[in-house]
C-alpha cells in the first residue's frame, strides 16, 4: 500500500484500467447481496400483521431512496474536487453518477407510490420524504440537462459542478422546509418514515439490499466513467494504442 502513489490514479489513463479491474468485483458483490437480501426478504421475513405482504416493497423502496440521496452527496463531493483541484477525472466521476442517482430517485418514487396505494389508499402521498425525493429527482434532471446544454466539456464540467454544489447545500434546507410543511398540514399520521415495526429479518434484508444498491452503483459508475473517458480522451495516444490493442 505504501508504494502506491494515489495521485497517479487521478489521470484518466491510469484510472481507466484500474476501474476495469474493479468492476467485476463490485458487480459480483452486488449480485450476491441482492440474491441474499431478496431471499431473506421474501422467504424468511414474516408477514407484517398490519400491512400484510405489501411491506416487502420497502426492500427496494428504502435502499433506492437512500442511494438517491447518498449518490447526490457523493456526486457533489466529486464536483467540489473538480472545482478545487481542476481535475477532469473528478468531473467525469460526477457525470457518471448522475444517471444512476436519478434512476434510483425515480424507482424510489414509483415504489413509494405502489407501496402507498395498498397501505394508505392513494398512489401519491405528500409526505416529507417522498416530496423531498421528488425534488431531488428534479435536481438530478437539472444537472443532467445543464451538462447536455453546454457544448464545451470543460465548461459543462464547471457549470454543472457549481449547480450540484448549490443543490447539495439546499438539500437539507429543502428537506427541512418540506417536513415543516408536511407536519403543519397533515392531519392523519400518514408517513413513509413510519415503517412497520421491524422484525430483525426485515431490517437485515433492507440493509443487505442497501449495500447491494451501493455496490451496484459503484460498478455502474465505474463502467460509465470508462466510456466517458474514452469519449473525452478519444484523441489521446494511450486511447489509440488501446484501440489498436483491441483490434490486434
Amino acid at each position: 500500500m505504501a508504494g502506491i502513489s494515489w495521485f497517479k490514479f487521478s489521470a484518466p489513463a491510469s484510472f481507466y484500467p484500474l476501474a476495469g479491474r474493479l468492476i467485476p468485483w463490485f458487480a459480483a458483490l452486488a449480485a450476491l447481496l441482492t440474491v441474499a437480501g431478496l431471499y431473506i426478504g421474501f422467504l424468511v421475513a414474516p408477514t407484517d400483521y398490519q400491512q400484510g405482504e405489501s411491506y416487502r416493497i420497502i426492500f427496494i423502496h428504502v435502499p433506492a431512496a437512500w442511494m438517491a440521496m447518498f449518490t447526490y452527496c457523493v456526486m457533489a463531493g466529486w464536483c467540489a474536487a473538480s472545482l478545487i483541484w481542476n481535475t477532469r477525472l473528478s468531473a467525469m466521476m460526477a457525470q457518471s453518477l448522475a444517471p444512476t442517482g436519478a434512476m434510483f430517485a425515480f424507482v424510489s418514487l414509483w415504489t413509494g407510490a405502489f407501496w402507498g396505494r395498498p397501505t394508505w389508499g392513494t398512489y401519491w402521498v405528500w409526505d416529507a420524504r417522498l416530496t423531498s425525493t421528488l425534488i431531488l429527482f428534479f435536481l438530478y434532471l437539472g444537472y443532467i440537462a445543464l451538462r447536455a446544454a453546454i457544448d464545451d466539456p470543460r465548461r459543462a464540467d464547471r457549470a454543472s459542478a457549481l449547480l450540484a454544489l448549490v443543490g447539495v447545500v439546499n438539500v437539507p434546507i429543502i428537506y427541512f422546509s418540506v417536513k415543516w410543511w408536511n407536519t403543519l398540514h397533515q392531519g392523519a399520521t400518514v408517513s413513509m418514515t413510519a415503517a412497520p415495526k421491524m422484525a430483525q429479518t426485515m431490517l437485515a434484508a433492507m440493509l443487505i439490499m442497501s449495500f447491494a444498491a451501493w455496490f451496484y452503483t459503484i460498478a455502474v459508475a465505474l463502467h460509465r466513467v470508462r466510456s466517458i473517458i474514452l469519449e473525452r480522451e478519444a484523441h489521446a495516444d494511450w486511447v489509440q494504442e488501446l484501440r489498436n490493442g483491441r483490434q490486434g
Partner: protein, 52 residues
Amino acid sequence: MMEWLKMGGHGFYIWWSYGVFALAIAIEVWLLSRRRAQAWQMVRQAAEEDNA
C-alpha cells in the same frame, strides 16, 4: 406457488414495484453497453480525423 405469487392480494403492487425496478436496472445496463460501443466509435472517428 400461486398463493405465494398473489402475495395475500397485494401481488399487483409488489410485482409492479419489483418489475419496474428490474426494468430500470435492465435499461440502465443496456444503455451502458450502448454507450461503451458509441465511445469506441468516437475513438475510431478520432483516429480517422487524426490520420486524415
